[in-house]
């Protein structure tokens, strides 16, 4: 990640800047695939940036660059020193720096997606880093995962259950998952996807697009 050389620290109230969307979830649940899908679906209409928090190397960032869904300079990777959850929750400085670097280089942006390094069910984004967060599960973890909860499952703004195409193979009951998720999440939305079968994840993209429009409406810089 390159240093930026201007004083462009944003005010913390979020006025006049892009929506910051955290995408978290366990290893292998499809976070990177979802980010790629969102770039495909939204990249034509919105100005995007992506920050990845790889555990090792820059694999996720490289995957996104190879996927060609976004200009590669709009993708920055942050090293997390063995602690991916620390970098998105406790010490968000490096991620904020990356987000603001993107906004400075390519701004004004509409949306910056911060993808967490794969961690466990307790990892959530700090509100100082992400304005909205999506938690991604996949059915192969078993249909009990939503019932077991954890902050990601219960408090995320959107829960995405991915790889629904595998449900029959792993014996996961999607109805059970939906019911359990409703129990722990109340009215917060849950979407079921199979990004492999539907590479633009249209339903998730629509939700994200709605969030972006609501954010820009609420956080416009007042004209004086």
């Amino acid at each position: 990640m390159g240093a930026n050389h201007d004083d462009h620290h944003h005010a913390p109230d979020g006025r006049g800047r892009a929506l910051r969307l955290g995408v978290g979830g366990p290893v292998g649940s499809g976070k990177t695939a979802l980010v790629a899908a969102l770039c495909r679906a939204l990249g034509r209409t919105l100005s995007l940036g992506v920050v990845t928090n790889d555990i090792y190397t820059t694999e996720d960032a490289d995957f996104l660059r190879r996927a060609g869904v976004l200009d590669e300079e709009r993708i920055l990777a942050v090293e997390t020193g063995c602690c991916p959850h620390t970098a998105i929750r406790d010490d968000i400085a490096a991620n904020l720096d990356a987000v603001e670097t993107l906004e400075h280089r390519f701004g004004p942006l509409d949306l910056v997606i911060v993808e967490s390094g794969g961690d466990n069910l307790t990892a959530t984004f700090s509100r100082g880093l992400a304005d909205r967060q999506i938690f991604v599960l996949d059915v192969s973890g078993g249909d009990k995962v939503p019932r077991k909860g954890g902050p990601g499952v219960t408090t995320s703004d959107l829960l995405v259950v991915n790889k629904t195409d595998l449900a029959p193979l792993v014996g996961a009951d999607l109805d059970v998952m939906a019911r359990d998720a409703r129990t722990v999440r109340g009215e917060r939305p849950v979407l079921f996807t199979s990004i492999r079968q539907e590479p633009t994840a249209a339903a998730v993209a629509t939700w994200v697009s709605d969030q972006v429009h609501a954010w820009s409406h609420d956080h416009a810089v007042p004209v004086s």
Binding site: M1, A3, N4, H5, D6, D7, H8, H9, P12, I55, Y56, T57, V78, E79, T80, G81, C82, C83, T86, A87, D90, D91, I92, A93, A94, L96, D97
Partner: protein
């Protein structure tokens, strides 16, 4: 001691320090650091070489922060001249930028704003010295914070990477207390005496090699 010093040196200070190993990751990868005794040798070496330089520079910066027109560019150039390795300069300016961002919100002050205007990505000793001043600490206390910073990140990284007994490693840091005090005292004296050109310039050739190897490594968990 000024209580703000506790905040400045706390490893939970959200200024991105958790993702820097101070060369420990590469020293571990090469087998040079493998257990508590070799970690102790690593930390002592770090403290008594580059640690003496950064502590003295931090003290000088803290003292300069009290002047009406601080000469930040000249001090930043003194840090540059003492940091031959580009990877170490990059690690220092990245950490400096992130610390400056945090300090401006935690201890708002015109002198921090002035530093950000003069050098948005200052070397870490500049950010730490000015933050210490803004928080009400003395140059000697700022030097102590810098000396501790020279060892704490590497110690934490070794715990994570080698699975060392964290109590043993904290015992090691406690054993280093007299060294930390001595380095800080020497730094305080140096900063109060002659011109900046005469400040300590302790170098560690192995750290320079390690830093460049790390920057070129394909697989890494820590930024530096």
């Amino acid at each position: 001691m000024n209580p703000a010093l506790l905040l400045l040196t706390d490893s939970r200070l959200p200024a991105g320090g958790h993702a820097h190993s101070g060369g420990a990751e590469r020293a571990i990868a090469s087998g040079a650091v493998r257990d508590v005794p070799s970690l102790e040798a690593f930390l002592r070496g770090r403290l008594h070489t580059t640690g003496t330089a950064t502590a003295a520079l931090t003290a000088a910066v803290c003292a300069e922060a009290a002047s009406a027109e601080p000469r930040w560019a000249a001090l930043d150039a003194e840090v540059d001249a003492r940091t031959a390795s580009p990877a170490q300069r990059e690690a220092s300016t990245t950490q400096g930028r992130l610390l400056l961002r945090v300090a401006r919100r935690v201890w708002p002050s015109p002198v921090l704003d002035g530093l950000a205007r003069a050098t948005p990505s200052p070397h870490h000793p500049l950010a730490l010295g000015v933050a210490a001043h803004a928080a009400g600490a003395t140059p000697g206390e700022a030097a102590l914070a810098a000396a501790y910073h020279a060892v704490s990140g590497a110690a934490t990284a070794a715990v994570r990477l080698l699975g060392l007994d964290p109590v043993a490693v904290h015992g090691l840091l406690a054993d280093l207390a007299p060294d930390l005090a001595a380095v800080a005292a020497q730094a305080g004296l140096a900063a109060g005496a002659a011109g900046w050109e005469a400040l300590p310039a302790g170098s560690a050739p192995a750290l320079d090699l390690i830093a460049e190897q790390h920057a070129q490594a394909a697989v890494r968990l820590f930024v530096s």
